[in-house]
């Protein structure tokens, strides 16, 4: 039954239509077959076949509520299709220096549970890393009285250099060893498919699936945390670059031989915008010792501290310069600035937006929209889960094709 004589045209390019239909439904929320056919420039017959498969895979369902056809009042009513979110549960994890954040999402992106675990050891061996992940998952599942076995998939975000296609981590600050292939380790310790990727890429995925990038084809996601990250979606797909190390937006140079960056180079954007850069300026420059955080600087600025205002203003100027360069180079539909907890109002001020506008070469078409997204501290874990949802969708659709006896 499984061993069909079928020809695997190319495992990579197979079932693209079904996946496109699924993504369209996810982006639209609820949509009829005829609208899908129109939007995807395909025939109704194809949509019927694709949606039938997706329904039998438990990925989508028909809704009871019915939408009126746009213009007409008679005729057979459209049946709306929507995600069948409850059927599968996906876990997303973000492994940071001192903490592992876990979130459980249903297939629509709704949060089911979340939890945080303090890491005693910030640099783990691969084996320790995987076990820490398993423990974190178990505890989080316990919260909702379910076992780890109920998970359809797990996705892990780390800062570092990752070849996501192979679950291969070239380097990460959380892991002692370099060049570790996690495929085997993960499948040994976890009862479901698991994936690893760079954290900024994962946030971009989250914006695409259920954030501000829903339905967009070409957009950039700038992540603000301690540093500045970039996720790139071109033609609906994550662009990872040739070496897979992701875009180093935080280390693009905004000043010839400028401020010293943590990376050892000079003039990096992050050396003007990163939290450590702001704190460095405040402490080094005299009166104030050891500022605890960026929000302290914000507080001081609001209460009339000119030095604090000046530090924030320069960060904004440099950030605006960097963003305008992104627009000049990528010409995206939209740039999404995504932040978790850190205060970054100074990077979205009117002055900064004005600077961006003035830094972009004028063409007839309007400027790409800049959207600000305050996620809260689940951003990174949700990003990971988003990637998991996508990957599990692909697996389910493949199984489907294989099982078609």
């Amino acid at each position: 039954m499984l061993k069909s004589k079928a020809s695997p045209v190319s495992l990579e390019q197979r079932n693209t239509t079904r996946l496109r239909v699924l993504e369209h439904i996810r982006a639209k929320g609820a949509v009829s077959r005829i609208d899908i056919a129109t939007a995807l420039q395909t025939s109704p017959a194809t949509v019927t076949a694709a949606t039938a498969d997706l329904i039998s895979a438990g990925l989508i369902k028909e809704t009871e509520s019915q939408a009126q056809s746009k213009s007409a009042k008679r005729g057979r009513p459209r049946v709306l299709l929507q995600l069948d979110g409850q059927r599968h549960l996906v876990a997303g994890l973000k492994v940071a220096r001192q903490v592992i954040s876990v979130i459980l999402l249903d297939f629509e992106g709704n949060e089911i549970a979340s939890h945080k675990f303090t890491l005693e050891n910030p640099r783990m061996s691969p084996q320790e890393f995987v076990l820490a992940i398993r423990n974190a998952l178990k505890e989080t599942c316990n919260q909702i009285d379910r076992s780890i076995a109920c998970l359809a998939g797990v996705s892990i975000g780390v800062a570092g250099l990752v070849d996501a296609n192979r679950n291969f981590v070239h380097w990460s600050s959380s892991i002692k060893d370099s060049n570790v292939d996690f495929s085997q380790l993960l499948s040994n310790e976890l009862p479901c498919p698991a994936f690893v990727d760079n954290d900024a890429n994962l946030v971009a995925k989250a914006e695409q699936l259920f954030g501000l990038g829903k339905g967009l084809k070409n957009f950039l996601v700038v992540t603000i945390e301690h540093g500045v990250g970039l996720g790139i979606v071109l033609d609906g797909k994550l662009y990872r670059g040739e070496r897979g190390c992701g875009a180093e937006f935080g280390h693009t140079k905004v000043q010839l031989d400028g401020a010293l960056c943590q990376c050892g180079q000079r003039g990096c954007l992050e050396a003007y915008v990163g939290d450590y850069a702001l704190i460095r300026e405040m402490t080094v420059s005299g009166q104030i010792n050891r500022m605890a955080s960026v929000s302290d600087i914000h507080d001081r600025a609001k209460s009339g501290d000119d030095r604090a205002s000046s530090v924030l203003a320069r960060a904004g100027q440099m950030f605006g310069l960097g963003i305008s360069n992104l627009i000049n180079l990528y010409d995206p539909e939209c740039i999404i600035v995504s932040g978790a907890q850190m205060s970054f109002e100074h990077l979205c001020s009117d002055e900064v937006m004005e600077r961006i506008r003035n830094g972009v070469v004028k063409v007839d078409a309007p400027l790409p929209e800049i959207r600000i997204h305050h996620w809260g501290d689940t951003m990174w874990a949700k990003g990971a889960a988003a990637y998991g949802i996508e990957q599990i969708s692909i697996l389910k659709v493949r199984e489907l094709a294989a099982n078609a006896s």
Copy 2:
């Protein structure tokens, strides 16, 4: 016969295999069917079908010379396939301020003829523009005793903002009107298909088809002329951005509130690297009046003029900064620096390369290669012709599918 009942899966995605085979043959020069099948991860049967079609379309041919199989000494010998360049002739034009350059290439990219025409009027009406092109083509064809009717296609490069898919020119310095649809005008005045695109994109196409980007999937082409341009090839395709205006690398900012650029903004790369910027520095800064060209500055620098050396050095520093930002953002396989006539040794010096290396975030993988390409003054026209070759190939393959009775 033409009106087949066939289902046009999608005109855009049809015949991709045949086109991939054609591009592979172009990239490899001469290659056997079995090697194509291996390289393209497809079956020999498919390659047989595809190559049979391409041969009957006059795009490729079998060579007489035979290549030995790598390891074995017996067995049926491989038949090498190569482009059948002589069958079709394509014209490429570059329309600049004062001159139209025309080049005729065969389908392999070999130069058959070329010519330059001075333009009395740098800003033409659309009608004048098309007529100027027709005249330039006629004269160039006359040179080789052939008529304009022998051309399989014509491709035109202009500086400006072009929607290449529609032959729609939003704006160009050579054309009086804005937002002109050239489809109709061109088909009225020319006996063959014609295409318009932005000039930097076209040079990228030339590098991809028969330049230093042959066979690469992700690379950037930086063009050096009066200004600095950028063509982006990602996943084997030209990336044009959302608004289609191409990447404005020359107007990325390399200095906060820096030197004034022709575009009116401050701190643009071009305001440090463009020829007018160099000349401005030399003239404004005192002793020397009205330098004729960048090569004069080079001459002065070589004969010990410290001011000239300094001007060139700073341009190099800024250029290096810009290139390292490109690498940080795109992580390409390779960056090709393509120049026509202008002297740009100061942008490829060891110091500049060192600066690039130091500006790129270190990862395990080696730095993208930086290749310098001195085309000579046919660069822009050849770029246009390259795009023509590609587009005509697509048309021929489509015809083929339509004619399969």
